[in-house]
């Protein structure tokens, strides 16, 4: 992870990175010097002002760390999933229930993102699997850089399943690639069925949607079909699973999906 990491941004990391500071800014190699002709007309003869072409994605830095994480996951045959949702959708309960059913068969590790507290990581550790908590403080999403450092602490096993539970937020995490194989968006039936069109970016970015807390449907006016229609309207490719982490209804399909996706990570493509 730290192959691209300068870590000179005031982050507090306990390990020493001194050796990297000589070669961590190699992204300057991009071509930025073309096609200035049209721009020279802006400059008056004596003005020191000039135009510089940048042509760089604002999130280029995050994307570089994400690519590094993705390479790490690939080399270790891991399946990394970025779990996103609003606060209170039942992500952590879904995780603890999933872990309870899979931990005897698979190696599992968890990165927990929250603004404050280590409560979720503690809930995960109580299931017996390793978890690292990232507190984002005032930040509203996890970024690939911090996930990379969490991996150093976590040291997940080869062919393991890594859940990255993002900060509860349906807005910002959609833009930040963490290097995951898939974003999985969790929506509980206690929320509105129109969430997919109210927060389209997240549902657009996700490959799988889990409609959670289906045990509560008899008590609610939630229209599942309409919700699924909205989700597919935003993202025609999205796959949807309905389940209740509490009662276990529908969990089998989710577990089967996880195992199948993990198996796919073992394939060596040419």
């Amino acid at each position: 992870m730290c192959g691209v990491c300068g870590c000179g941004e005031g982050h507090s990391h306990s390990h020493d990175h001194d050796h990297e500071h000589t070669h961590d800014h190699d992204h300057h190699e991009h071509d930025h010097h073309h096609d200035h002709d049209a721009l020279h007309s802006h400059a008056t003869g004596l003005s020191p002002k000039r135009m510089v072409q940048i042509e760089q994605d604002i999130l280029a830095k995050n994307n570089r760390y994400a690519a590094e994480n993705r390479r790490y996951f690939s080399e270790h045959g891991m399946l990394a999933l970025n779990l996103v949702s609003s606060p209170g959708s039942g992500k952590t309960t879904l995780l603890t229930e999933t872990i309870a059913r899979l931990k005897d068969d698979l190696d599992i590790a968890v990165i927990e993102g929250d603004q404050q507290t280590a409560r979720d990581a503690e809930r995960i550790r109580a299931t017996g699997v390793a978890a690292v908590q990232i507190n984002t403080g005032k930040g509203c999403h996890l970024d690939a850089h911090r996930v990379g450092h969490a991996l150093e602490t976590l040291q997940p096993k080869n062919h393991s399943l890594l859940f990255i539970e993002n900060v509860g937020n349906l807005v910002c995490p959609s833009a930040f690639d963490l290097g995951e194989a898939h974003k999985v968006v969790i929506l509980s039936v206690t929320e509105g069925e129109d969430k997919p069109i109210k927060y389209p970016d997240m549902f657009h970015a996700a490959d799988l949607m889990i409609l959670n807390k289906t045990d509560l449907l008899p008590h609610l006016d939630f229209d599942c079909e309409q919700c699924i229609h909205y989700a597919k309207q935003v993202n025609p490719r999205i796959k949807i699973l309905s389940l209740s982490a509490k009662t276990g209804e529908g969990m089998d399909s989710w577990l089967r999906w996880l195992k199948a996706e993990l198996e796919l990570q073992r394939i060596d493509y040419a």
Partner: protein
């Protein structure tokens, strides 16, 4: 917690804070690029920044402008002008086999009404160019 001055009433406080923080972190990323490029491109002051922001990029332009001014204070881009080039959303409609303009990710094809659309432009957030000295 009180509403920030000028906050629209239909934005819940938490949501407003979330959006502003999102733009704030984008501006921090922009400033990092400006500072990294300063050495390679040999400038010491950024006067104007041109950004290309897609209509589907989930960026609130007003929040971005506000955050930019705050983030660049005291940096090489202090008081820099922010010029935003807005790029319309575009998607490939599979049934029509052509590009169509979309305003939102959940828009239907304006010609055939299908939602089998693949966004191919308008989700970018790019730094285009700078005026420096």
């Amino acid at each position: 917690m009180t509403n920030p001055p000028g906050a629209d009433l239909h934005w819940p406080v938490g949501c407003m804070a979330g959006i502003a923080m999102h733009e704030m972190s984008l501006c921090e990323s922009i400033l990092q690029v400006l500072e990294q490029q300063a050495e390679a491109q040999q400038y010491s002051k950024v006067k104007t920044v041109w950004l290309e922001i897609g209509a589907l990029s989930n960026v609130e332009i007003d929040a971005l402008r506000f955050s930019f001014d705050v983030v660049v204070q005291g940096s090489i881009a202090d008081n820099a002008q922010l010029e935003i080039i807005e790029v319309p959303g575009q998607a490939w409609c599979m049934p029509c086999s052509r590009n169509v303009v979309v305003q939102q990710l959940y828009d239907l094809c304006p010609y055939c009404g299908s939602h089998q659309l693949q966004v191919n432009s308008g989700d970018q957030m790019r730094i285009k160019e700078l005026e420096v000295e």
